[in-house]
Point group: C2
Chain length 333, copies 2
Amino acid sequence: MAGKNMQVLLASRPAGWVKESDFRIVETEIPTPGEGQVLVKNLYLSLDPYMRGRMNDQRSYAAKVEIGQVMTGETVGEVAESRNPKYRAGDIVAGRVGWQNYALSDGSELRKLDPKLVPISTYLGVVGMPGVTAWIGLNDIGQPKPGETVVVSAASGAVGSVVGQLAKAKDCRVVGVAGGKAKCDFVVQELGFDACVDHRTGDWQQALAAATPKGIDVYFENVGGALLDAVLLRCNPFARIPLCGMVSQYNAVDRYGVQNLMMAVGMRIRLQGFIVSDHMARWPEALKELGQGVRDGRIKYRETVTEGLASAPRAFIGLLKGENFGKQLVKLA
Amino acid sequence: MAGKNMQVLLASRPAGWVKESDFRIVETEIPTPGEGQVLVKNLYLSLDPYMRGRMNDQRSYAAKVEIGQVMTGETVGEVAESRNPKYRAGDIVAGRVGWQNYALSDGSELRKLDPKLVPISTYLGVVGMPGVTAWIGLNDIGQPKPGETVVVSAASGAVGSVVGQLAKAKDCRVVGVAGGKAKCDFVVQELGFDACVDHRTGDWQQALAAATPKGIDVYFENVGGALLDAVLLRCNPFARIPLCGMVSQYNAVDRYGVQNLMMAVGMRIRLQGFIVSDHMARWPEALKELGQGVRDGRIKYRETVTEGLASAPRAFIGLLKGENFGKQLVKLA
């Protein structure tokens, strides 16, 4: 296909905070699919906190991005050309094809989407990886029971907003933690959480205590740091803490030291890290419930969308700082 | 019964390290059992790290000891007088009757022991609460598989020594961590661990790495602090960390901050606190296996025994400092 492609490459490994100069934007030719291949024209790029880990040169559950490689990431796109019998031009697909306007794929990593069911952008959020992450982390690791208190950090974000709404549907008391009044208002008034603690206020620890009068039974961890310490002090016996992420620590040079882990002994707390891709067997059930919730309007969501691939590095840095509101997307076409 | 009793009371709540002056030793009359009661003459008192928590005025899984109360603790004793049909004078019993030479009990908290089966002191150690703690924490929380690497801290202690021997019997690679060469030699040469890291040497972190070339699958946590941080960096995917205790932190005014908890996300590590008394249904199976192991000589153990109740406060402080070697007991009669 004639024309120009644009790609975002990893230029250097960040030491501490990511800088825009850690990325390099390049123009290349739009590639031509070979036998069995599909050319995808990307429409939306998803930005997610996990991508920060891929920029590091360290042992992790997934391969790091090499210097000079296209940044890893999921997109929703349209098949522009296909030499793969499973796909036709015009098909809407999702896949991990990276930060670029056009991508070649052998099709194995793509899944076909139904654009009539829900808005296609939601396949990168509430009806995609972040939504399934919330569903699995809450249901399979958090295991909330009616009447229990569930606390979720990054509560207005792509994962946290789903966690809280699912927990409300299970008749839990749901308390969010978010940065700023606007996010907290949204979490309570739009998403229906019982309360939301603004961690940017000086008395957030007292606010957390006031919002959890019966203690905490499930804490869905997206943030880490001082919040985890405060939560540990309020955990009830047999509390569960799904460890989904610790975004406050991803750029930290001096990591926060968690001092109250000793509470986990006496209170028999379970802290458990998980990665959504380990649980593929659970995806269909999760996606069905989330898709129905979005169609019915029972599950609400918010998106922050920037325009054009060149905006991705700055938007990603903003995501890590909590400047986004809801799911962070880049509209590519 | 005529004569004098001796009791150790909690005199003050320690701020930081326990001092001998936090205890008060008093002489009282030996009490006379009422209807349904048993008078127990204690023979051995068990000293265990958990007792430190009972001295604090804080929320915990078990009632704290009040100022002026007899310190809580388990003993093995002989029934001196009984007005309870379930017990006869001369019966050997174990129970949580406190730091005292004689104790009254309604019998509900006592269990009869067979003194011919194993040495009676072991009912406070390997064939008692510490042994069952090891058994449940390793089997039910740690869930080691053959070929996996199991690391256990306080490896020569009452719990750790059993953990390692049980893990060896499951064909795991077993690495202990202990303080000093004598304990490390014992752990390897007598208990049969594959290796032991002396945390009192300057290069213990390198020694831990060298002893765990395939990473760590199970870490049985008795100690907390910097060791946990070092272990987190070496955990394999899906590692399990039974949190049994964190003795390094019990007297800490400034608690150690664990910086590497973020590893639990990417490596899907499960950290889980537990208390042996939550698992009463598992005790009979555990005690049977442990008792047989001691009788057969397959499970080895070591005891440090001080003489007389007045030695208990100092021995307890020594236990918290790791001065004991194996199970810490006080011989009362």
